[in-house]
């Protein structure tokens, strides 16, 4: 990073020097020759403006960049994120070169070859070798950038490792809901959008036994550090897009078409609080696909913590069935016994009388 900036600064310094020396030549010429009546209207000051704007522009872009840098996102907190960050700044560094050269030439030529009396432009309609050069050079640079980008892209979008922690995130107007596979079976249960209601917000299908220990959270998501996390992404009304800026994660949430993104976070929230010196630092999940009135405030807190605290947090969460035991009614008869394990004893009885007979056996385990 610093090298790039130093390079840019150096280039600008050299350019400024060149421009100043040229300007002096021009000032000499102004005094010597020139009958102004032959000049096209305003040509002199417009020519000078190109040089003025070139210098001022170079200074202000450099300064504003250095000033803005402190507000950019800090270094990515995920492994793939640091890779794309490096690639981004590498590409930016390369692209800065043509940006400077081309804009310098445009401005400089405009000033240098401004109209002169009794002067004729040179008739120079083509030069195949020159054109071949500036076809091939960009093509080679592009090939390089494409190749590095393609390598990164295929690694990022490859299938998630088998040991990845699977978490489902569902977007709705206007918040995110996280669903965890639960402590016992570590498998997300089925879902069906037709089962959604005001309590079962993500449409958990309770006829699937894997869903009995699932738990949801509408305000924060916890993930373990240094372990692959696979987000299974869904939307229940319109398009949303999961954006975790510090993780460099983004993927649309599409109704009817589940999407996914996996990544490895390697800095805990605590690490980042120490690193940024901000005791209130939090990772955030935002929405980046316009979804209606509340689009700008679909915030979810993301907490990255070590494996032990993550497990502890998961264990503390009430499963969906514990929170809403009345949904036991939706569990098929043959699985009722199993489901009862996840339901608190006192709640089970009023919720479903048919379950009482088997309920007594289950409660003790659920209370552990």
């Amino acid at each position: 990073m610093n090298i790039i900036i130093a390079l840019i600064a150096l280039v600008f310094l050299v350019l400024t020097g060149v421009v100043i020396s040229r300007l002096q030549n021009v000032l000499k010429n102004v005094n010597r020759t020139d009958s102004p009546d032959a000049e096209p209207s305003g040509n002199k000051w417009n020519g000078a403006m190109f040089i003025v704007i070139l210098i001022l522009g170079a200074i202000s872009i450099t300064w504003s960049y250095l000033h803005a840098r402190e507000f950019f996102l800090p270094e990515a907190s995920s492994i793939h994120g640091r890779r794309t960050d490096d690639l981004f700044w590498f590409s930016m560094g390369i692209l800065t070169i043509p940006f400077i050269i081309v804009n310098f030439l445009i401005f400089f030529f405009a000033w240098k070859y401004q109209h002169k009396k009794n002067h004729r432009a040179s008739f120079y309609p083509d030069n195949h070798r020159l054109e071949l050069i500036w076809t091939i050079v960009p093509a080679i640079v592009m090939a390089l950038l494409v190749f590095t980008g393609w390598k990164a892209w295929s690694d990022i979008t490859s299938d998630a490792p088998r040991d990845a922690e699977v978490i489902e995130i569902t977007g709705k107007q206007f918040n995110w809901i996280a669903r965890y596979a639960g402590m016992s079976d570590n498998k997300l249960g089925d879902y069906n959008y037709k089962l959604i209601d005001s309590q079962n917000e993500v449409g958990i299908d309770l006829s699937d036994e894997n869903s009995f220990d699932d738990f949801t959270n509408p305000s924060e998501m916890h993930i373990p550090v240094n372990r692959p996390v696979l987000l299974k992404i869904r939307a229940r009304d319109v398009l949303h897009s999961v954006f975790i800026p510090h993780m460099r994660v983004k993927m649309d949430a599409v109704p009817g078409m589940p999407t996914k993104f996996w990544f490895v976070a390697d800095k805990t929230t605590a690490d980042m609080r120490a690193e940024t010196g901000n005791a209130n630092f939090d990772y955030e999940i935002a929405c980046t696909e316009v979804c209606g009135q509340g689009h700008f405030s679909m915030k979810m807190r993301l907490i990255v913590e070590d494996e032990a605290s993550y497990k502890k947090w998961c264990a503390e969460q009430a499963t969906f069935l514990q929170t809403y035991p009345e949904y036991l009614a939706k569990v098929p008869e043959n699985l009722k016994a199993k489901a009862m394990k996840y339901v608190p004893a006192e709640a089970a009885t009023p919720a479903d009388s048919s379950a009482t007979s088997t309920g007594g056996a289950g409660t003790s385990t659920s209370l552990r």
Binding site: F71, T135, Y193, G256
Partner: protein, 626 residues
């Protein structure tokens, strides 16, 4: 129609034509006019009015974003209930504003206003034709556009507001009225308006293509066409291929909205109700939309590049460098434009393999674009540059095109797009490369061809001041916007207070907004200059820029039919500027080689023999068919 009329009136000659011309009443002459020059002016004036509305909208939401604490009560007389009693902008209306700003600027200003104006105005004048192939279809094209404009304008006054799902109107948001107030009647009118707009574009496009292919004057072979005409031709082909696809996506969306189909809808639970639709795919809409949407970028940009080629060559007093390479790169860009659309969709859940393919194809576009950039620069090199306002805007266009285009190489890289997609980095990128660059093409064209349109000159000094304020303003707005994007700020956010990661850059956003307001105010210099000069400008000379192309051989105020008497024949390309040995530093296209022996190259002397053949050619004079 008029081509057929031309055949029917085969024996009619100039005198009868003059007579016919006088018989036109006000309605025929200015309203339902079939003359391409009048239609061009209709497009231009409508485009300018839309531009004022579209840019005003951006100023309102820039105030919201950059000066969030400001009291907007002063806008109450215009926006009424959209401003709360506390003087705050309604969040729903904010979304409507960004949506309408995008729609208006992309379609109504930079497609209809730019390509509609200059394709209509310049194609017949520069290829040497009396008018478009079909004047009647041309008139229909404008009036379909007008109808589309009326409907879109009416939607601004709806109680629930106009369409508000972003200019890309992704369903299901746009398909479900219960998802957003703007998805009700506002979206219905948006879709109706766009359907009519597409009809207008197709009528126009077919006409441009037919005219360029069939009505070129004697000797105007394709390798002598000015680059403006090449760019309009390629633009029209792009539009003809891609707009019908947008129409199909619009129609399917209309079916989903009103007739219960499920093309784009599946598994939706909204407002306490599970919808019956299953099996549709919102991604299908995105594919259809961007199959137009990406070529649309070039539909907007190519005419600007064509105009720039012409203006830079004329005012550098030099031939355009690499004429054939310029055509080849435009053809290359046009071809690639159709096979890169999915780079807008890297993170929509599309198959990642497809993402890689589209990344490869996208980054290839950088090559023809680079060729164009370098060719413009080489055209400036060793020129004798006259800074007319048109020239300044053309030089500005090249700078904006390159600066904005370079960040496209970042965004076209799918791995980098993960973080930058739908952030202000994207907004900054496309506003530079497509928005501002094309608008500069529009300005360059207006300043350059104003004398031909209205027979008067615009004020040069005001034009030059307008350029510098706009040029500096554009960079002041969009360079800092890249920084905001790198910091991860998402697009289409009503305010940035909800997140810690956007709780910064307050001063930067304020700076962008102030720069935007100043650039907006600078446009009033143009508006005054434009309208004042129509009536009070200095009278234009025959060929004010000493240009080679055919339009400057017509009378200063060309009537219907453009040329009095025969249409001139063409003997050379349009870029013989500063030819060694020539008396003047320009040689118009209609001057035969036999009259310029002092400046001919050896192979051009050989062409003298073909002049007789060119003159005796049977050509497409609609007033004088043989």
């Amino acid at each position: 129609m008029s081509a057929i009329e031309g055949l029917e009136t085969a024996h009619h000659h100039e005198t009868e034509h003059e007579h016919h011309h006088e018989a036109q009443n006000f309605w025929q002459k200015y309203i339902f006019c079939e003359d391409h020059k009048v239609i061009a002016k209709q497009y231009l004036i409508t485009g300018i009015m839309w531009a004022v509305i579209g840019i005003s909208m951006s100023v309102i939401f820039r105030i919201q974003l950059g000066l969030p604490d400001s009291n907007l009560s002063w806008l109450k007389p215009v926006l009424g209930g959209w401003i709360s009693d506390a003087g705050k902008l309604d969040p729903n209306f904010y979304l409507a504003l960004v949506t309408m700003h995008g729609t208006i600027m992309v379609f109504f200003v930079l497609t209809a206003g730019l390509s509609g104006t200059f394709s209509n105005f310049l194609i017949p004048l520069q290829i040497g034709a009396r008018d478009m192939a079909s004047g009647f279809m041309n008139m229909l094209s404008y009036w379909f556009f007008f109808l589309a404009s009326v409907i879109m304008f009416a939607s601004l006054f709806l109680q629930a507001g106009p369409a508000a799902g972003g200019w890309v109107i992704y369903p299901p948001l746009s398909a479900l009225p219960q998802a957003h107030p703007g998805s009700g009647m506002g979206m219905t009118l948006w879709l109706a308006s766009m359907a009519l707009f597409i009809v207008s574009q197709l009528l126009g496009g077919i006409n441009y293509i037919t005219t360029v292919i069939n009505l070129r004057t004697r000797g105007m072979s394709f390798d002598r066409l000015p680059l403006t005409i090449w760019s309009f031709l390629i633009t029209a082909v792009l539009g003809l291929i891609s707009f019908p696809v947008l129409l199909s996506s619009v129609l399917l969306l209309i079916f989903d909205r009103h007739f219960g189909t499920s093309f784009y809808l599946s598994d939706i639970y909204i407002n306490g109700e599970a919808l019956p639709n299953v099996g549709g795919s919102p991604i299908l809409f995105q594919h259809l939309f961007w199959f137009l949407g990406h070529p649309e970028v070039y539909i907007v940009l190519l005419p600007g590049l064509g105009i720039t080629s012409e203006v830079i060559a004329t005012n550098s007093r030099k031939p355009i460098f690499g004429y054939r390479a310029m055509i080849a790169s435009m053809l290359g860009i046009a071809f690639l434009a159709f096979i890169v659309w999915a780079h807008h969709m890297f993170v929509t859940g599309m198959n990642p393999f497809l993402g890689s393919v589209f990344m490869f194809l996208t980054l290839i576009i950088a090559v023809p674009s680079a060729v164009k950039g370098f060719n413009y620069i080489t055209t400036l090199w060793k020129g004798n540059i006259v800074f007319t306002p048109g020239m300044l805007f053309s030089i500005g266009l090249v700078s904006l095109f390159v600066s904005g285009g370079l960040t496209g190489i970042i965004l076209g890289n799918s791995a980098l797009d993960i973080q930058l997609h739908d952030t202000y980095f994207v907004v900054a990128h496309f506003h530079l490369v497509m928005g501002a660059a094309s608008a500069f093409g529009l300005f360059a064209g207006v300043y350059h061809w104003f004398p031909k349109m209205f027979g008067r000159m615009m004020n040069t000094t005001l034009g030059q001041i307008h350029f510098w304020l706009t040029f500096i303003g554009i960079y002041l707005v969009f360079i800092p916007m890249h920084y905001v994007g790198i910091a991860g700020f998402p697009r289409r956010y009503y305010q940035f207070t909800s997140y810690d990661f956007t709780h910064k850059f307050m001063d930067m956003n304020m700076f962008i907004s102030i720069a935007a307001i100043l650039s907006f105010l600078a446009q009033f210099i143009f508006l005054w200059n434009f309208f004042y000069s129509i009536f009070k400008g200095r009278r234009a000379p025959q060929n004010p820029w000493r240009s080679n192309t055919l339009e400057w051989t017509t009378p200063i105020n060309p009537g219907h039919g453009n040329w009095v008497g025969e249409i001139p024949a063409v003997y050379r390309w349009s870029y013989d500027y500063s030819k060694p040995g020539a008396k003047e530093d320009f040689i118009p296209q209609n001057l035969p080689y036999s009259q310029t022996l002092e400046s001919n190259f050896p192979h051009e002397n050989e062409l003298i023999a073909t002049e007789k053949a060119i003159e005796s050619q049977n050509y497409n004079d609609q007033f004088n068919a043989h």
